[in-house]
């Protein structure tokens, strides 16, 4: 099926080449980071994880979000999602590829990455994260490919693939749970030390992933002959609405516990993020923006009149995606490191180089997504002819 990704219009090739250029820029800057070290980023002794790990965390969510199509279709036989489950699976593939690239970009000694497998350490959450992420990548490539190929040949998917599909459902929950466990098991990091971190990660994932999928569906509908179906989009929008409500609700639970208990280690980080601490408040504007975006999106998505208007739905999905991105891709990691365990405030902002590398990785992920979606759409167009 790969050959279908090699034939396309000028617009398609323009997109591919444009993304390749961004990948090239990112890779060139990465070579600099590789030779100089992570000193070219904005990270510091106090904020030792930055943009890369934050993007990784957010994208694990996007990858897990695909399960919101797979679960209703395969477990509840919800037919409307049947046409686009493979889009969800391939979105997960591209998101996981980005995650893995972000992890590699974040390593101080990337050449030694395989040490994680040479010296497996069962007590380390990072070891398990590697297992679940690679497993999820494998599952989604396998399932997406086999199902799509059967569709192309106009035969039902082979029976042996079913167990893999069923396995992929809890696995999707697993990847984001383990990712949350990276953070929430650390003593002395009050911001993350909370049992609701994993549920909150999942809720935000099930809002962010599907909202990106809806946007992709609209793009596909506009530029190709494949119609993902309005019914699927409408129902996905409902899922987003409730996932987003859960996300905000979990966050407010967090705020209550921190503020009412009054324990400084827990309040300090929230104070830093939303009001600034000791005169440092780089993220204050961002955090309030995220809250406002998510708040408005909830209103627009819960209300059927606005939800069923395509233009407003598109705007709402952008708001959800940006809002959850700020929440997780900016605030979640920095917020946990500021103030430091010794209560020093060292702020973090990504450096220009760091942003270029990030952009390159996003471009690489979008390139993978473009190629995979091109395959899907070619097959769908072929079958409907």
């Amino acid at each position: 099926m790969l050959e279908t990704a090699l034939k396309g219009s000028n617009k398609y090739w323009g997109l591919v080449i444009g993304l390749l250029i961004l990948v090239g820029i990112g890779f060139t800057v990465y070579l600099k980071q590789f030779s100089v070290g992570l000193g070219i980023t904005g990270m510091s002794r106090d904020v030792s994880w930055g943009f890369y790990i934050a993007q990784f965390t957010f994208l694990v969510g996007v990858a897990a979000g695909g399960v919101m199509l797979v679960l209703p279709y395969y477990l509840h036989d919800y037919k409307a999602f049947g046409k686009i489950t493979v889009l969800g699976e391939f979105l997960a593939v591209s998101a996981i590829c980005m995650c893995l690239m972000f992890i590699i970009a974040d390593l101080g000694q990337p050449m030694r990455a395989m040490n994680v497998m040479l010296h497996p350490t069962l007590g380390s959450m990072l070891f398990w994260d590697m297992i679940v992420l690679n497993g999820y990548l494998f599952l989604n490539i396998l399932i997406g490919w086999v199902v799509l190929e059967s569709e192309r040949n106009s035969v039902p998917p082979p029976k042996w693939i079913k167990p893999f599909i069923y396995l992929s459902i809890p696995w999707a929950f697993g990847i984001h749970t383990v990712t949350a466990f990276l953070y929430c098991g650390l003593p002395g990091r009050g911001f993350w030390l909370t049992a609701i971190l994993a549920p909150r990660f999942l809720a935000s994932a099930f809002a962010a992933g599907p909202s990106f999928l809806i946007l992709l569906c609209f793009i596909v509908k506009k530029y190709t002959n494949f119609d993902p179906g309005i019914k699927a989009i409408r129902n996905l929008a409902k899922i987003i609405a409730y996932a987003l409500i859960a996300n905000v609700f979990f966050f407010l639970c967090e705020v209550f516990v921190a503020l009412y208990s009054g324990i400084p280690e827990h309040i300090d980080h929230l104070e830093y993020l939303f009001f600034g601490l000791h005169g440092h408040g780089m993220l204050v504007g961002w955090m309030w923006t995220a809250m406002i975006l998510m708040g408005i999106a909830i209103i627009l998505l819960v209300n059927p009149i606005t939800r069923e208007n395509n233009s407003i739905l598109i705007v709402s999905c952008v708001m959800v995606f940006v809002g959850t991105w700020i929440d997780k891709g900016l605030g979640m990691i920095s917020g946990g490191f500021v103030p430091s365990p010794l209560h020093h405030v060292t702020e973090y902002a990504p450096s220009f180089y760091e942003l270029l590398i990030t952009l390159g990785i996003y471009a690489a992920g979008l390139l993978i997504l473009t190629l995979l979606f091109k395959m899907v759409i070619s097959v769908k167009e072929e079958v409907s002819d």
């Binding site: 100089v36 070290g37 992570l38 000193g39 980023t41 990270m43 510091s44 002794r45 106090d46 030792s48 994880w49 992890i103 974040d106 390593l107 101080g108 000694q109 990337p110 030694r112 990455a113 040490n115 994680v116 040479l118 010296h119 350490t121 007590g123 380390s124 959450m125 990072l126 070891f127 590697m130 990276l182 953070y183 650390l186 003593p187 002395g188 990091r189 400084p264 280690e265 946990g336 490191f337 430091s340 365990p341 010794l342 209560h343 020093h344 060292t346």
Partner: protein
């Protein structure tokens, strides 16, 4: 016999590259049957303990001037780079104010001496170290004598340990430290580090191995007492017995091995 050993050596060599070195045992080094086999042993002067610990007697410290020789002794012996950019600093042992060393214990009525007194902080060599748990490659590991050590050869630079440490005791080499180590103070006895690895206080494992106490203890003029916490006859136990001591963030359950007399 000779031949089969050769083959085994080759296999072992290749496996050593691929699988780590645990499988190579001393007898592998025997190249012929008649000779004795090569082996390994500890230095007979080595200091040993069940669990090393330290008491810092802050009553014997008046100002930063008292701490400077202690910190410098460590920095010099371990080739700690002097980096001006505080974001990239490497610190094994350094000073903090009370409110930073003991963030939950500060209060506005704190007595004057404690408020202005510089406190020495270093890796706590925790009994239940979060960094050891977090490390995905066992590059950070705990020895039988309680010392939490770093294997710089194995560290992949993921910095999970830095997120895990509740004491900010770990530093990352954001750049090659080479340019920041003064050639005139360079200690050729101890390796420097490469870029991209995490480092921290090693409780002077290299000195204990040859029968010397940690450099900071030696330079402290009695303000730091070092010894075996499990040995009821030791000096450190005597000091712990006769003084009230506190540890940093004890409530987290990490079990620090560094005690402070206030």
């Amino acid at each position: 016999m000779e031949n089969s050993k050769r083959i085994f050596l080759k296999i072992a060599g290749v496996s050593a590259l691929g699988l780590g070195t645990g499988i190579l045992t001393p007898n592998v080094f025997a190249s012929s049957g008649q000779k004795k086999e090569a082996g390994f042993k500890k230095d007979s002067n080595a200091l040993t303990a069940k669990r090393w610990g330290m008491v810092i007697d802050t009553r014997k410290i008046e100002s930063s001037d008292d701490l400077e020789p202690i910190i410098n002794a460590c920095n010099k012996i371990h080739n700690i780079p002097e980096i001006k950019n505080h974001k990239h600093e490497i610190k094994w042992i350094w000073e903090e104010e009370f409110k930073h060393a003991f963030p939950s214990k500060g209060n506005k009525y704190l007595n004057e001496r404690i408020k202005d007194l510089p406190f020495l902080v270093l890796c706590n060599q925790c009994e239940n170290a979060p960094c050891v748990k977090a490390c995905p490659t066992k590059a950070t590991f705990q020895r039988d004598d309680g010392i939490v050590l770093m294997d710089f050869h194995r560290c992949i630079g993921c910095r999970f340990c830095m997120a895990a440490c509740p004491y900010g005791s770990r530093s990352f080499n954001f750049k090659d430290p080479k340019e920041h180590i003064k050639p005139e103070t360079y200690n050729p006895e101890f390796p420097r580090r490469t870029k991209g690895v995490v480092e921290k206080c090693n409780f002077c494992a290299e000195r204990l191995a040859v029968g010397k106490k940690p450099a900071c203890v030696e330079a402290s003029d009695g303000a730091i007492i070092f010894g075996d916490l499990e040995d009821s006859e030791s000096e450190i136990r005597e000091v712990l017995n006769s003084n009230y001591t506190i540890r940093r963030k004890q409530a987290l359950g990490t079990g620090p091995s560094i005690f402070y007399i206030i």
